[in-house]
Amino acid sequence: MKFLPLVWAGLKRRKLRTTLTLLSVFIAFMLYAFLGALREALSGGVSMTGLDRLIVRHKVSLIQTLPESYKARIEAVGGVAAVCHQTWFGGIYQDPKNFFPNMPVVPGDFLAMFPEFVLSDAEKQAWLGTRTGAVVGRVTAERFNWHIGDRIPIQSPIWGQPAGQSQWEFVITGIYEGTKKATDTSQMFFRYDYFEEARQQMKGQVGWYTVRIADPDQAAQVAAQIDDQFANSPYETKTEPEGAFAAGFAQQIGDIGSIVMAVVGAVFFTILLVAGNTMAQSVRERTEELGVLKALGFSNNLVLIIVLLESSFIAILGGCGGLGIAWLIIASGNPIPALLPVFFLPANSIVSGVLCAVVLGLVAGALPAWQAMRLKISAALRRGG
């Protein structure tokens, strides 16, 4: 602690340079935090998937449908505890830019399968009692200012008009919350029986099945049994863990993780050079001062530590500042709920960000600190004189 004024003095020596370097680190870590939140938003479904859930879809592609009759046959497979199905509806509210995911489901099966979607008992009962009822997530409800009881007109380019009506219309019977931050609350679910009755094509077909298995360790065997059951049929299936399914879905946009890592890597490498250059310049300018400290009895190791503390201070203050401000901005709200179903800075991104800041400080200061440590006193004082 008693050496901190010395560290502080080193940083104050060139205030403008220290400030600019701090700002560079600050901006880099803000960017890191925003990219972390973006990555979570675009691939968040992966982290929220259940280990005990499998997805059964058409072997050819996700847009190929499966018969509804498969449900009973899947339920009969050993190790299967529950089954529910969903179908991509692709509904649009007023304008195509108002995209949000919406799907018909069987309410009882669905709520049992996905306990992460939380509805009050009254909302559940209202949904079960309203044929055109729909439950919508908090994000989408707030985005469109929907309230319970509202009648929502939806158009579906995929399914066309419902029988006997000009457009699909749903009554909001519940607004669900997520059990975790990463729970996607941008979706709307409505009743399959209404959908099945009203659609004018592909009756008896569903998009995919979600299967809960009794023992997650048996996932591979159960998946194989399901696929074997439908092998050589007109609707062959591909069964995979929900996590793999969600990851594949996210990768339709691109390999988010790799893109983010590439950008963050390039930024951090640049910042490493900037901070390293600052410290190298600082040490070079202070050759004489470091020589004086050594002449006064400061050991080589102590000089090394002082220089490393300086670079670490810049990296940690700038890094934590950037992470902190980004966290505040991110916590203040989702800027584009239409595109990002969840938007938050995961705790592991904050922890790894702080660790990155520490490592950045140590690596950026390593070479200048080593040079300062190796400095010969007589040469340093001669250079100064």
Binding site: K2, G297, S299, L381, G384
Partner: protein, 232 residues
Amino acid sequence: MNASSQPLVHISNVTKTFKRGSEDLHVLAGLDLAVQEAEFLALMGPSGSGKSTLLNLIGGLDRPTSGIIRIGEDRVDQLADRQQAVWRARHIGFVFQFYNLLPALSAGRNVELPLLLTGLDKADRRRHVAAALAAVGLPDCWPQFPRTLSGGEQQRVGIARAIVTDPTVLLCDEPTGDLDRKAGDEILTLLQTLNKDHGKTIIMVTHDPHASARASRTVYLDKGRLSDQPSA
């Protein structure tokens, strides 16, 4: 540190050779010197004669190529790097020609620097710093930064930094070399006071006969050898 009648600083047959390319440069050639405790020694000689090199060797900033350097009971030439640093902190006070204060630290913080290496707590450090600044006649300049002080005042702060740990030997490298006559005289008077009133052993490198006249003894260094008389 030196309880016997032996000299406090004992230098025997010291050589120092620098490499300049493929050429060997013999700066000190078998040099002997003894400095008694509480002596004020002036070391004179032309530029390049090896005065500062000798001072660096005595202060443990450099090592001799051969020979013995003993300060009190300690063989300075045999200390390892880390031991040298600890030894310097305890036994040597340096006064530099260009003061060498850290510009980003206040005068008080500059004087406090050597005390950071001791086990003193903050209150004790402050008391020592106040005493050292008072001893050099600048009791109120604690919060001032070097840039706000005159050359003479900066050198006084430099001397306060050198004496704050009560070192065994004060090594002064041209302490008046960057000062005008009046300020230089004040510094020399201060060094004399430290020597006479406080019993400080001082070794001062200087070009200036006016400065060396204040010392109790003057030795001359030329071509790597010492003598009691200047060379012709």
